[in-house]
């Protein structure tokens, strides 16, 4: 157990879908500089857990705390520190990548004043800035969504299947970014059916429906 005010504390939560219990009594903490991989079969509750951790869904029992306060508490400031990218990428197809990122920046903020073009360059969308996202491929749309990661100053990243439809080179690029983020004191929660190779010592994993947190070697 680490300090109770250190970071994200998932406190004995349970979740069910319909009449089926997905998991019960899940309890762990995630501090700065740590990675949590959520694994499990299809339908084992990975997305449900991530949505509960991001505050989009309510657990059946238990609560999620950020620095000792409930995440929905007005003083917790969790949502300033959170970046969640889910299955639905949050990209408007009618808008260009620049316009999409401008909106993301207005909602969530950014590290630097004019980082949008830099972020698009980093994800390999140089030359597509003014193309409506509807005309981009599935992988390129995914890159637009993930370009937020280059922009954000959030500490906690919760990513649900970020690698979907990305090519090998892009995956390697993002893994480098994840490593950098975690080594700079961020935390990362990630699900992926593809292998995730991060050069980080503090990696943990949960294989649902087991609720035991284990060190990842």
């Amino acid at each position: 157990m680490t300090d109770a005010t250190a970071g994200l504390h998932v406190k004995s939560i349970s979740c069910s879908r319909g009449y089926r219990d997905l998991f019960t009594g899940l309890d762990f903490q995630l501090s700065a500089g740590q990675v949590l991989r959520v694994e499990g079969k299809n339908g084992s509750g990975k997305t449900s857990l991530l949505r509960i951790m991001s505050g989009l869904a309510q657990p059946l029992e238990g609560e999620v705390l950020w620095k000792g306060k409930k995440i929905h508490h007005p003083e917790s400031e969790y949502f300033q520190d959170l970046l969640f990218i889910g299955h639905r990428a949050g990209i408007k197809f009618e808008l260009t990548p620049i316009e999409n990122l401008c909106m993301a920046k207005a909602l969530n903020g950014s590290k630097s004043e004019n980082g949008i073009e830099e972020a698009l360059y980093q994800v390999g969308l140089y030359g597509f800035e003014e193309t409506p996202c509807a005309n981009l491929s599935a992988g390129q749309k995914r890159r637009v969504a993930l370009a937020q990661l280059y922009l954000t100053q959030s500490k906690v990243w919760i990513l649900d299947e970020p690698y979907t439809s990305l090519d090998v080179a892009a995956v390697a690029n993002f893994e480098e970014l994840f490593t950098q983020h975690v080594n700079n004191g961020g935390s990362l929660v990630i699900t992926s059916h593809q292998p995730v190779n991060l050069k980080i010592s503090e990696q943990y994993r949960i294989v649902l429906p087991n609720t035991q947190l284990e060190k990842f070697a």
């Binding site: 300033q80 408007k92 993301a104 969530n108 903020g109």
Partner: protein, 226 residues
Amino acid sequence: MIPSTSSAFIALIKRDLMLSYRHRNELLNPLLFFVIVVTLFPLGTSPEKQLLQTMAPGVIWVAALLAAMLSLDSLFKSDYEDGTLEQMMLSHHSNAVLVLAKIISHWLVTGVPIILMAPLLGLFMFMPIEGIKTLMLTLLLGTPILSLVGAIGMGLTLGLNRGGMLLSLLVLPLYIPVLIFSANAVDASLAGMDIKGQLYFLGALLVLSITLAPIATATALKISVE
């Protein structure tokens, strides 16, 4: 750099107006519906001047009500489907403020055209200038209420597959006070009476809905997103 809520508010209005501009042909549908419904009445009843004049305030207002309800569908649906609504809910800004931004831009592209179209329909129905002025005034006060109250219903029915019918059942009863005071104000002005009372009521309803509806809508959306 944490952005202020006011800059997020303005950015969201801008974004929604830009999206509407890129879908501008869709905006025409509720407006055409409004015009067609009103033009059906002389065909269905009689083109007699006296009768149309009597019916005009009610007919135009009911048509505006239905057109406003039809246009609600575009308010949150696409944001819900592509995940941008989730991103809004997860930002640190007050959800009610962001919802208000969406409602304002929605009103600008659906409510304002209805107000601008109304004088033409008033002339169709032989309405004198005095009546048309009051009609526009009531629409100016009333259509924002329709957007604000409709947003609550839209937020509640967002997660449902076929929420359209339920939406009208939820929202239309709440539109009744607006209809009564507005149509009555136009009638009264045609009879040369004072309309301050009705306008005050509409103004009070507008203040009530502008302060409370965004909060209710934000809560409804939170439930729908879950």
